[in-house]
Symmetry: D2
Subunit: 339 residues, 4 copies
């Protein structure tokens, strides 16, 4: 860590600074510069970070030389993480195609969709049971009943299943019934929930918060990893944008950025990103071409009967065509996993 | 509600649309226009909204003529809501000055700060016990112990207290010890938590989510109001901006916007909005001049010892000066509550 | 156009509204609704739009049923526009690969780069002569001399050339020397400049403004088209984002969105979008897979000597590899031009 | 400047780095750290900044210790700048109230408004002659005729006048007829235009670009100052936000931020910021309370006849009330100019 001081810092202020740094068990090497005194700090920097050096009189600027997310970075692990979700692998060259409805609505409806996405090419089934909805007056999911339907349909079709958890009190029910826990964009910074899914050891699909930077997102992953759960897959699903035409702004630069910073797999969800079925296939292809480890796609056999997010749902035939495109793109991409 | 159809909609598609609308118990009046057929819909629109008309072939556009947040709007209640927090009233001309540290760090430290903010002019004490932190390696608060300290110090100084709740499992502990529950920006869309604080009937300080529109925010309030809890105070605390100079962008237009749309009180938190102590006083004055029902200010006797958000903490003497400014501004503002 | 009135509008206000609408040569058809009176307006809507109906007492909402950009929409033209830039065609299935340095720095340097990008697979050469720079103390380009070098090097290598115009007073110099005029992101709303390039009839590469919506961007194109110049190619180059890691946020949803709304070709510039050479190839591939009509890539033989934007410049060998990837992707994409 | 190197940088790369730095006439002092080698650079840093050190192999990070905007910073000038516009002074305790219509529409109309704003309390008259409009089909101003009307009405009422310049070719016409040149938000980065108004020496009102950081904005001011023109007033007018309810997001933290970084006066334009007349007065009061050096307000005697931006125009009586509020607030504020 570098601490840059005002060249005219008073002796009293200077010794308060030195004391705080040394008190945290760190060493100081000093270098003068025309623009300010420069302190190079080594030692227990995690402990030092608890001290707000920035408010000490005489401190101008603090420059961190290390990344705040340790466990998710390549410094911690040199090989890409591969997450096993039932029989499906994600990362390290294994590409996930997650398909299914926004919400589990009925047993027969889900079974129809699950069969279609499996036939189309999906290797993981999605379906929401606990649905966070902007309005309290919208359909909020079937809850536990939805989880049970999802489990059964997953078993019938042979697809592992992923569903969102929104409340730490649901952890037992979710773990018992789904293969992968999804943390939605609204809960990326629900740290109590992250700690719970971390403790569970279960595979986690961690969506990016709508206003989260890449660093915020990796720090959210760090909450899960720090509980000893290495099974984290990141999911870019669009950040807050300003164009009323689109629901969110899909930030595909996050794919190479995460690849450069972290060993964790990263996939994309173009359905929530755009909110429009017509844009989903082009952006799913784009995510694949950018090097993602998978895509998550909303599919519904009858969008006109869907109880949530109908406007972004693909129909099964469109999904099958997309899966075919993805297969061709993956051939072109070859083995590239760390572009 | 208006539904605009393609002028060339096929008869089959047209009857599917009509059937769906009538099936939801609504009536249709039709008007032709050069640009499309226009359906004016009346009846049980809440039920109709569950049907995704937007994906029906032949539908071009849907225009809602009513607001999605019913209970928080002036249509529901003609008088401004006044929320009682212990002996302090907020709204309807009553101005709250909430002061205190980011986090409760120790009994003696909090007592020192509480006495200072009371003397300065605060009528409500803040202090975090459960702290959501971006990094899992940062200080996360004293938890229950922090709540107990906060309660005691509040009683000693005669100040009602407000503290953040982050987990529905903490609801009992929070209700027993604090006068007002704060929902932080990261949890504005944690709907399970909103339902819990709604059920409690306790006063709630609902911060705006970092990427929430005004409508998203009022819908979050609606989750609480819909549980029968009318004691909601909104708090603008800055939205996600793009300038690295500032932590967030304080959106003071939210003050008159909320005033125009809702009977709920609205205050501002310039400490979190800017992240810099030097900007807090000018923006607190600005919030007051814009018509807010209060301000929330972080104060610390020794910022250089603070364990979180030290850079945005005012010192007690600065806080006292600010309170004096606010008193003068409130005199100028006079009785204006619905500008 | 629909105008929704307050159901309790006074007769005087009502007749002022009717008069204004009829005075603009429009007709009114009236439909009652529980939520308000509804006026369906037909006639000379362009003329009516000059009247600020929104401020008339009694008007609640105005809903436009037509798009504000006429000439760039599919309603105006059913076939995709193909723009000829020298011997290179863009749009309608023709894919442009524009390569070259940020700025023209010297004759020999540009020639070296031009030969490399031609060999790599580029069919258009870029190079800035008039450089808009955030700081007045940065290198601002060689001006006219740069244009002359660019023209000569283009002729030597057989590549048509594109360069940015920043001032209407440079129009003659630019037209005489380059095959395509670029309007940069900072000048997307420099309407006097748009009118000049419109009058010229010359091919124009219109970059999206950093905070422009898709509609703002198409309206900027409309300024050029309205002067009788149909040769407009749109270029997505990243919008303002909030993550300090990236220079901008590449909004690839703009590719299918423009494709759905307009017949104009649309390409992507991942170099300016990210500001980092390592992210350029993945995002260029993504743009191609999303259906773009081309990409624009900054290439420099010696980035460490570049006088601007060095951190985003690819080296010639990397560019060649990318061109090879693009060729494979285009084969997969097949003839898809209107996905 | 600090340059942080990879601890394992190769000797060849290391000497290339040293050579580049020394070749720019700078000196290097080296300090080792566990996290990397640290080079402290002094000397001609402006020259060094032309070299893209960031792309040299072995360079990890570059930290600048000085601000890029020299002339606008307090380091350049210790006293606040006061700009004289005719008889009106702005800055250093002098508060500007700029009122008038969006556009000059007619001589009689402008005279009526000018008399009203003067009587209300304005000390500067605004009125657009060259109007940048998002759509080419909107009213674009009267041009030169508008300038002549504005000049005459200013003389008749004794108010200095300000009007927007959008094209460097209009510089003579603008200088001859108006007292202050406005650079609008769309042209903040039109550097050719900034250079022209810089050369003119005329007072300039420089609006913030919609996606400009504070630093971008001060660098735009630097373009004008670097031409020897010190008469620059900054104007915060709202940045791009994501809420469709508001036209822009007024960023009032810019007031104390500019105050802390620069000696230039800074005012606010709540009319363009919000686009809604009902929000203008609260936010004008807020800007004043935050310490601004003035406000710019759109006023129209008959908004329902206005040819542009009618929805944000105050009526003369509302403007008079606002001016009265501002007078009271300025009394409370006292002499505070550098809060």
């Amino acid at each position: 860590m570098l601490v840059i001081l005002d060249p005219h810092v008073s002796p009293a202020h200077r010794s308060a600074i030195d004391e705080a740094i040394r008190g945290a068990g760190c060493t100081i090497a000093e270098t003068p510069s025309r623009r300010g005194l420069l302190l190079v700090i080594d030692g227990d920097l995690d402990r030092l970070r608890q001290i707000p050096l920035g408010v000490f009189p005489g401190v101008r600027k603090i420059v961190s030389l290390s990344k705040p997310y340790a466990l998710s970075s390549w410094e911690h692990q040199a090989e890409p993480t591969v997450v096993n979700v039932g029989t499906t692998r994600i990362g390290g060259g294994h590409f996930a195609i997650i398909g299914g409805p926004c919400a589990v609505e009925s047993r027969s409806g889900l079974l129809e969709i699950a069969r279609a996405v499996k036939e189309g090419g999906a290797n993981l089934l999605r379906g929401g049971a606990y649905k966070p909805r902007t309005s309290p007056y919208s359909f909020r999911g079937l809850g536990l009943e939805g989880l049970l339907i999802l489990r059964d349909v997953g078993q019938q079709t042979g697809l592992p299943v992923v569903s969102e958890i929104t409340d730490p009190r649901h952890i037992e029910a979710c773990i018992s019934n789904v293969d992968m826990l999804q943390i939605g964009t609204r809960n990326m910074s629900n740290f109590d929930l992250l700690v719970e899914v971390g403790k569970s050891g279960h595979p986690v699909l961690l969506k990016r918060g709508r206003s989260a930077t890449i660093a915020d997102w990796l720090l959210a992953a760090e909450y899960i990893l720090a509980q000893g759960n290495p099974n984290v897959v990141l999911c870019e699903r669009g950040i807050r944008g300003f164009d009323p035409l689109l629901r969110n702004t899909l930030d595909l630069a996050a794919i190479p950025a995460i690849r450069g910073l972290s060993h964790l797999p990263v996939i994309a969800d173009p359905s929530h990103a755009t909110g429009r079925a017509a844009y989903v296939a082009p952006l799913a292809r784009a995510a694949c071409a950018a090097g993602s480890d998978g895509v998550m796609i909303e599919v519904h056999s009858h969008p006109e009967r869907a109880q949530s997010d109908a406007e972004q749902a693909m129909r099964p035939a469109e999904f099958r065509d997309l899966c075919e495109d993805l297969r061709l793109l993956l051939q072109v991409r070859g083995g590239v996993t760390r572009s």
